[in-house]
Amino acid sequence: MSPDSAEAVKTTAGARQSSRTGAAGAAKLELIGVGKEFRTKRAHTVALSDINLTINDGEFVSIIGRSGCGKTTLLRMLAGLLSPTTGRILVEGRSLWNGTKVDTSVVSQLGVVFQEANLFPWYSVAENIALPLQLRGDDKASRMKRAYELAELVGLGGFERSYPRELSGGMRQRVAIARALSINPKLLLMDEPFGALDALTRERMNLELQRISLATKATVVFITHDINEAVFLGDRVVHLTPRPGRIHQIRTIDFPKPRSIDVQTEPEFGVIVRELRHALDEDEKR
């Protein structure tokens, strides 16, 4: 059984298959029957069960769900921080996990952005951005050149020598994004990166992220609990339901990119958001 057909089976009738998932050769990330169970002495929780998903090169996939649906668990598995109990995760066809051991050569091609920027206050903006390159062993001149390019890309030109304490929350998150992009990751994983920001900053960061992802042609997995944000940014929106975490539906969002903020006032956008909201409300009742 190919991953695509598995996905089709699990996807509810309302969801539309993206036509691009058919091109198996371009698959950047494949999740095949991925599940995660937590066993403690007292309890046995199934956090995620039978997740099948294929993400293509350059695609932006939003994952939404209520808290507790396992979306953060999913991202931590993709980031190589938590091993799956069952199933396989393939990055460009290479397995990320061998049992509970992570393939470090695959992990080193991923960029991760967390909810908190988690910058290192003892390093300047440029040094923070270049940290992954430094760990990789790049020489100083080349990594600083790259850091300055990326600072420019994320809209922080002129702040390269500033320290994190001098930056606002939105600017810090931009640094975190630049840091994740520094290694030219095959896959950019984002776990509610704008969750800690105020609504206006968040809206601006959404536009910025769209611009950055288009400019870098990055493949992005974007986790959020904000439906608007998920639909605005996503080429597809994956809806996870809790207990156990499963893919409930996958919606393709057809608005052409780049999308302006005004796309949110279009009727069709409203329909998609409303339907997703109802589906999420159903989760609450279960």
Binding site: G80, V107, V112, F114, P121
Partner: protein
């Protein structure tokens, strides 16, 4: 630009206020001595103390004693620094060890350590060794406890970043753990250096024939209050100097830390 100039005048303020306070204190002292006609043997006028100060400072013997006290302090402090940081890192990293030693550590914290000084004199003699040991013991605890706290306080999110970047143990230590713990160690050092001086002086009070503490006891036996004042001032200056050295080290090593960039004190 008003904000900037206000900032600057705020930084200058202590430099202006401190001399004024000192002058006022000396004037008040002088007036009090004149008005109350208090005995010289109890409270000498500041002028007398000043001239005694010159005498004390120009005596070669004073500097030998000062050097002894300084080296005892530094010796004890350095031992405390090395042992304290190592112990702090180990206890911070090995929870079961910390847990099993906690009662002992708390108990030894509560013991008035100065009360042990006579014991140390018996064990390590009247020479420099006993003073170094006392200094080290006093300075050890704040350094060890702060280091332990620092090791524990490395942010989970930052660790996660290093993990997601596939960092080696050494890289995590170099780029995260060491940098993150350093402010705590330096805070411990600031407390430690002051305690180290106290240790050396108290040690000298109780035994031996060297150091500024010994000199103080001698001036007491001579009932020479002005010399006592002069020696005390010299001791304070040495203490201040050592503290500023540690503080400068902090400014140099962790300019990014809020305890440095938020600091608006004398040396600001």
């Amino acid at each position: 630009m008003r904000g900037v100039s206000r900032d600057r005048s705020r930084k200058l303020l202590p430099w202006i206020s401190t001399p004024i306070i000192l002058v006022l204190a000396f004037v008040a002292w002088d007036v009090f001595v004149r008005v109350s006609e208090i005995s010289d043997a109890v409270l000498p006028p500041p002028g007398r103390v000043l001239s005694e100060m010159v005498t004390v400072l120009t005596t070669a013997e004073t500097w030998e004693h000062a050097w002894i006290t300084t080296s005892e302090t530094l010796g004890g402090f350095l031992i405390a620094l090395v042992v304290g940081v190592v112990a702090g890192v180990v206890l911070g990293k090995v929870p079961w060890l910390e847990l099993s030693l906690r009662p002992v550590i708390v108990a030894s914290q509560v013991v008035p350590k100065v009360a042990l000084v006579p014991l140390f004199v018996i064990w390590f003699g009247f020479g420099i060794t006993s003073k170094v040991v006392i200094s080290a013991m006093l300075a050890f605890f704040p350094i060890m406890l702060n280091t332990q706290l620092g090791v524990r306080s490395v942010e989970a999110g930052q660790r996660e970043v290093m993990r997601s970047l596939n960092a080696t143990r050494w890289q995590t230590f170099r780029h995260l753990e060491m940098k993150s713990t350093l402010p705590y160690v330096l805070a411990g050092m600031e407390v430690g250096i002051v305690l180290a001086i106290i240790g050396a002086i108290v040690g000298e009070y109780l035994g031996g024939s060297e150091g500024l503490g010994y000199m103080l006891v001698r001036t007491l036996n001579d009932l020479n209050a002005s010399a006592m004042f002069a020696t005390t001032i010299l001791l304070s200056l040495i203490g201040l100097l050592l503290y500023f050295v540690v503080n400068a080290l902090k400014r140099f090593l962790i300019p990014w830390h809020e305890s440095v960039y938020g600091q608006q004190d004398l040396n600001g």
